[in-house]
């Protein structure tokens, strides 16, 4: 009996734990596994972790080679997101390997990877799976002799002050990042064929990736603004990934450090790292840019019921409500570029929906004079937002025989001749029969 009671209390105490986890209705991550090379990272990067815990994330710190770590148990994922702050790990402990991390992301979970100048092959492999290639030279670092951060102790210009951000409020927040972001680490390049990966912070055109200690004889493999310092990936299943070649940019030292870009007289009291990385973590952990569409409706203009079929040339109205997740609640999403397609093999109509600024989008258009099976399609893909893909099938029929136009004025002569003929016939029968 006592045992049963214990189980019951255990079960009930676990329910709230599961209910706050990631779900389509509540898409923010909650449980985060942080893998580190050394627990000292927990203290040296505490400001970053502190900003996560203060937003309600449950961080679980584990050594990357801890033999007891695992991402799932009994087929259930234990975490909503994974943070890899273990650039030098050669082999993960427990059941984690590259394939399981890829599976983790494939099932819609989020990932943050930070490498460093001594990044192991394993971390590079994880990055490659995400569509990002770190410089293959293990001794290479990103060097910029023009846009470096002025520092009394860093003479080799590997401490870079970069402010070449992606122009997307959804990823970096609406507040402008004033101070440059400090970066020290390795650069990576993006596969141009991969349309899912985005450069969030790119190096300036004077940067290059090379070993600062040796002379260059061949041009470095990565130069200029092709070097990405921080990249994000949004997979087709809306899983989000952040990849950077600098672990130190998350550190308290960089968060607190002042920054002055070479050649600029403005000295910022605080680097942009904290704002930049906090904002981007909001995006990665789905506190921003996560859309949902509800109440997809369509009907003829002037009616309110949804018909099973439309006739060609009908006037119809299509409407949808779109909401954005703010981390705690669904807020109306306001934009002026949501488009609906009336689609059969190719779009027959593509129209921008008008909005009432409260998340309700609608458009009116005439059904084309082609019959067949059509679809209402909303393919909404915007930089940084989760993609919306709605489609609803609807048949369109031609006119019935009695729905065509009648009594055309152009046909009046024909009508007139027929009827005058009939009248003439009637008179003729009488005259012919009875006239003498």
């Amino acid at each position: 009996m006592a045992k049963l009671l214990l189980y019951l209390t255990l079960a009930t105490s676990l329910i709230p734990l599961f209910s706050v986890a990631f779900s389509p209705e509540n898409p923010t991550d909650r449980r985060v596994l942080v893998l580190v090379d050394d627990f000292a990272i927990k203290s040296s990067h505490s400001l970053y972790f502190g900003s996560l815990t203060s937003r309600g994330f449950q961080l679980e710190f584990k050594l990357a080679d801890d033999p007891n770590i695992g991402l799932q148990r009994y087929g259930q994922y234990l975490y909503d997101a994974l943070v890899l702050f273990c650039p030098s790990v050669e082999r993960f402990g427990g059941s984690i390997d590259v394939a399981s991390i890829v599976d983790f992301v494939d099932s819609g979970h989020d990932l943050i990877v930070a490498a460093d100048s001594n990044a192991s092959d394993l971390i590079r492999e994880v990055a490659t799976e995400c569509g990002v290639d770190f410089d293959e030279d293990p001794a290479a670092m990103v060097i910029d002799h023009i846009n470096y951060a002025v520092s009394n102790f860093d003479g080799d210009h590997t401490l870079i002050a970069s402010d070449d951000f992606i122009k997307a409020d959804v990823i970096l927040g609406s507040k402008k990042i004033e101070a440059p972001v400090l970066f020290q680490g390795i650069g990576h390049s993006l596969n141009p064929a991969n349309s899912l990966v985005l450069k969030v912070l790119s190096a300036s055109s004077s940067a290059y990736s090379a070993n600062p200690k040796s002379k260059l004889s061949n041009p470095p493999s990565l130069t200029g603004s092709a070097i990405s310092l921080v990249s994000v990936v949004q997979a087709r299943n809306n899983a989000r990934i952040l990849i950077t070649g600098s672990l130190s940019m998350f550190s308290n030292r960089f968060f607190r450090s002042g920054v002055q870009k070479a050649g600029s007289s403005i000295k910022h009291e605080k680097s942009g790292n904290e704002q930049f990385l906090t904002e981007i973590s909001k995006w990665v952990f789905h506190e921003r840019g996560h859309l949902k569409a509800v109440n997809v409706r369509h009907h003829k203009v002037g009616e309110s019921d949804e018909p099973a079929i439309y006739r060609i040339n009908d006037d119809l109205e299509y409407s949808v409500e779109i909401y954005e997740w703010s981390g705690t609640s669904w807020e109306p999403y306001v934009s002026d570029d949501v488009q609906v397609q009336f689609y059969m093999m190719s779009p027959y109509v593509l129209k921008t929906l008008s909005t009432d600024q409260k998340g309700h989008y609608s458009a009116e258009f005439k059904v084309p004079d082609v019959y067949g099976v059509f679809q209402f399609k909303v393919e909404y893909q915007r930089l940084g937002y989760t993609s919306l893909s709605l489609s609803k099938q609807i048949p369109v029929r031609p006119y019935r025989h009695n729905e065509y136009e009648r009594f055309l004025p152009a046909a009046y002569p024909y009508y007139g001749s027929a009827f005058s003929m009939m009248a003439g016939f009637f008179i003729f029968t009488i005259v012919h029969l009875y006239s003498k």
């Binding site: 003479g155 130069t223 004079d369 152009a410 008179i427």
Partner: protein, 692 residues
Amino acid sequence: MARSPLRFLVLILAISICHAAGIFHPISDSHRSAALDLFKPVDGSFASLEEAYEALRTFEVLGIEKTAELSKAICKSVLGTLESSSSTPKDLFHALGVNGILKCSSKEETFEGIISSLQAVVRDANSLLDFYYSIGSLRLIKDQTSKTDLHLSDAEGTFRSIKALSQSDGRWRYSSNNPESSTFAAGIALEALSGVVSLASSEIDQFMIGAVKNDIVKLFDSIEKYDDGTFYFDEKLVNMREQQGPLATTSSVVRGLTAFSSVITESLNLPGDKILGIAKFFLGIGIPGDTKNFFDQVDLLACLENNRVSIPLILSLPSTVISLTKKDSLKVKVNTVLGSHAPPLTVTLVRAFSSSARDNSIIENQELKFDPQDAVYFLDDLPASFDVGEYIFVFKMLVQDSEQQTVYATGTLTQVPIYVTGLIKIENAKIAVLDSDLGSVETQKKLDLAGESTVSVSANHLQKLRLSFQMSTPLGNAFKPHQAFLRLRHETKVEHTFVVGSSGKKFEITLDFLGLVEKFFYLSGRYDIQLTVGDAVMENSLLREIGYVELDLPEPPENASRPPPQPVDPYTRYGPKAEITHIFRAPEKRPPEELSLAFLVLTILPLFGFIIGLLRLGVNLKNFPTSAVPATFAVIFHLGIAAVLLLYVLFWLKLDLFTTLKTLCFLGVFLMVVGHRTLSHLASASAKLKSA
């Protein structure tokens, strides 16, 4: 075992990657602001007295004022703990620690009850932590009150029972029935032992103290080391290491060590460089973000700041980047770990050499002058032959007062990498197009690399492009920058980067387009030329768009490689698409209504003509049957015809085919009957007429 140092090295690298090897900085203001951020009281107080002690001790060491409200709130819980009879020695220990800082209560009667119970704990204790907390508490009481009669009854015995837990390698066990020994415990034991010595009513046996000193020396044999000269203690057992990291372990040992050395009369002969290495280790981790680690760091440095073993002195440079143009001078600071001033020292620059040519010393054995105002040592002026570049300076410091030389740990030599920067002259920049076979110059243009002007040249695949310039240091020596790239960018964003080679001062690159055709993917057109010259010691690193070259390359052969795909601009990729509206089939053309009406009138006109014609012909109805029955049939017959015609009209207006045909069926049969009667009557009437 090998795993842990490696792992920790990563951390050190990650944190102090900016600090070149060998440079450590004493505690500064950034620590103070970080401490205020870190030790934030929740609801006006701290969660436990242990945390309160850590916070207050940190504030005390760093010289941060604490607020009166906070003190009051903490004092309340201190007094509560001290007066409660159920407080454990651990609670008392922390409460007394806080009391020592805040001076909440110094009333002797508060302590009376505690003392007796603590002494009882000491008598019965058999685990190290019991000894540690009870003896530590007693010692704190002794410091805080004026009681002079506070003694341990059997100091010698207590000392022995603590010493009995020690292991042969200098580490300690937590209790006699726990076989695992720990370095962290060694620190605790040393602190407890020092407490016993200071609480003892009589001298402790010198032999015993000698044995403990021996243990300390053995403990120092197990110290771990990094390549940059830092030292630390770590637990040997993995499961223990998870409880106590290197920071906590080292901090505990040093705390015990300094406490023990302060109570014994003779000095502990420990190597000063290891103490200095420990100090450097703790300075090298920067600012920890964890309260526990922060406290460990600050408390350890405070212990080292004023100890009897040896006080480490830290040599640091305000800047390791020296600009020749700004005429910066070389400055060196020497401080204790907490940043206070060091005793008078002689700081010597032993050697300075270029990091590429290590055997060539530029400066040797030069003593630095002391500037008492800023408390910095500086080098008067750099020798005239000092050129830009990366150097390694080797410093040595020596305490001037020879009696104090053993008190301070100064280390042997400190190596510091120094970057000497300056303006590099770039001259004679020229761009030329050469004919390939003859090598004769076809066009040559001068470049102004400082200005904004651009040049344009054109070339075909049989020609060469040559870019040349000269670079020299402020002293006129040859200078080879790390980055000297020439970049050609085609209109389609395909880029090609070349390294500009040098011989002496002259930099030259010749692009033979014949050999590069394949590499350029046979793409003709305009190529923008960009020159990047940069180096860590070059103050005027430049990135210049020089101009463009109009290239005329042959048509690509069939199997030529295609240019690599260029990344798509993310902004355009996601923009809204152009709207599509369906184009409806145009309605057929119709004549205007007036025309139709006009023709309607025209079609009706013949009917009128017909009627008028009939009237003109003088039609009559004389043949109409006169008798009643045939006349009725005739009327019905014509009404029937009219009904059929009306049915046609109705069919046109609204009836469908089925109704019409059905009705027509009936009407037709009816018409046939009636028509037959009418027509037969008419026929018989006309036959009668003929026969008559």
